[in-house]
């Protein structure tokens, strides 16, 4: 479980990968659609999807000649990984803000 968890976190550490993951949460998509909507090449999108898939966050299925990518339906784990990463980053930002000397006034 721990390994899966860390894989998920590591996979979502990359901003482009996180954006692709969020997009797939919105709607399942083929590689070509993702390459069209993100400023990265098709091979780069494929590579990101491979990492997300290996981390257990994303799965794919055949639809005719295309492969449609979507979040893994056992994806509570995926959401946990996402939120874990989100809150760790946010609390670090909170710490930085709260420890700043008060400058208003």
């Amino acid at each position: 479980m721990t390994t899966y968890h860390l894989d998920g976190l590591a996979a979502l550490g990359d901003p482009t990968r996180r954006a692709i993951f969020e997009r797939l949460a919105d709607r399942p998509s083929a590689v070509g659609e993702l390459a069209r909507d993100f400023p990265v090449s098709r091979p780069a999108v494929s590579q990101h999807l491979k990492v997300l898939k290996e981390a257990g966050l994303v799965m794919d299925r055949a639809a005719g000649t295309r492969r449609i990518y979507q979040l893994d339906p056992e994806g509570v784990g995926a959401l946990r990984a996402y939120l874990d990463q989100f809150w760790n980053r946010s609390l670090a930002a909170f710490k930085a803000a709260v420890e700043q000397p008060e400058e208003d006034s």
Binding site: P28, L79, W87, L91, F94, A96, A97, E99
Partner: protein
């Protein structure tokens, strides 16, 4: 695959060099000073984040054009020790209108000294969003998907 109760929560904590009152007020009413800037739902440029400091209050993003996006409801407000708010956001950063499908975040503040505060955060009932996902997938895959798809489209168009 069975989930244990703990599998549907995320827990994290941090210790900050600040008095408990300041930690609590910056976490709540000062949320706009630390919330990750890329995580907003508004279409318009963000003017401010507002945390209404009472039970039943809302946490919302306000745009420069006056538009508002309320993405949380304050469920418990006990300064400076504890606050609980709902998480009315789907994973794709859209507002979840069905409160049955929202999770909640509890934040507890403990004074370790007059100048040091421990902040413990638990984001729980994450599985409630999961139920939404399954329906969302059901709505997307077969041809006769129903209202969740319409909701998703409406949310995207809004």
């Amino acid at each position: 695959m069975t989930m244990q109760a703990t599998d549907t929560s995320v827990r994290t904590s941090i210790t900050v060099e600040a008095p408990i009152e300041r930690a609590f007020s910056l976490f709540t009413e000062g949320i706009g000073t630390w919330w990750p800037p890329e995580h907003h739902i508004l279409e318009a440029e963000l003017a401010e984040m507002v945390f209404e400091p009472r039970v039943g209050g809302r946490i919302l993003d306000r745009g420069v054009d006056g538009s508002e996006c309320a993405w949380a409801r304050v469920l418990v407000y006990e300064p400076p020790a504890r606050v609980v708010f709902s998480w009315d956001i789907s994973l794709s950063w859209q507002i979840e209108a069905d409160h049955e499908k929202t999770s909640e975040v509890e934040v507890r503040f403990t004074a370790e000294s007059t100048e040091r505060t421990r902040v413990e955060l638990e984001h729980r009932h994450i599985e409630r969003h999961g139920e939404g996902w399954e329906q969302m997938q059901a709505a997307v895959s077969p041809p006769n998907g129903w209202n969740l798809q319409r909701f998703a489209d409406a949310a995207r168009a809004a």
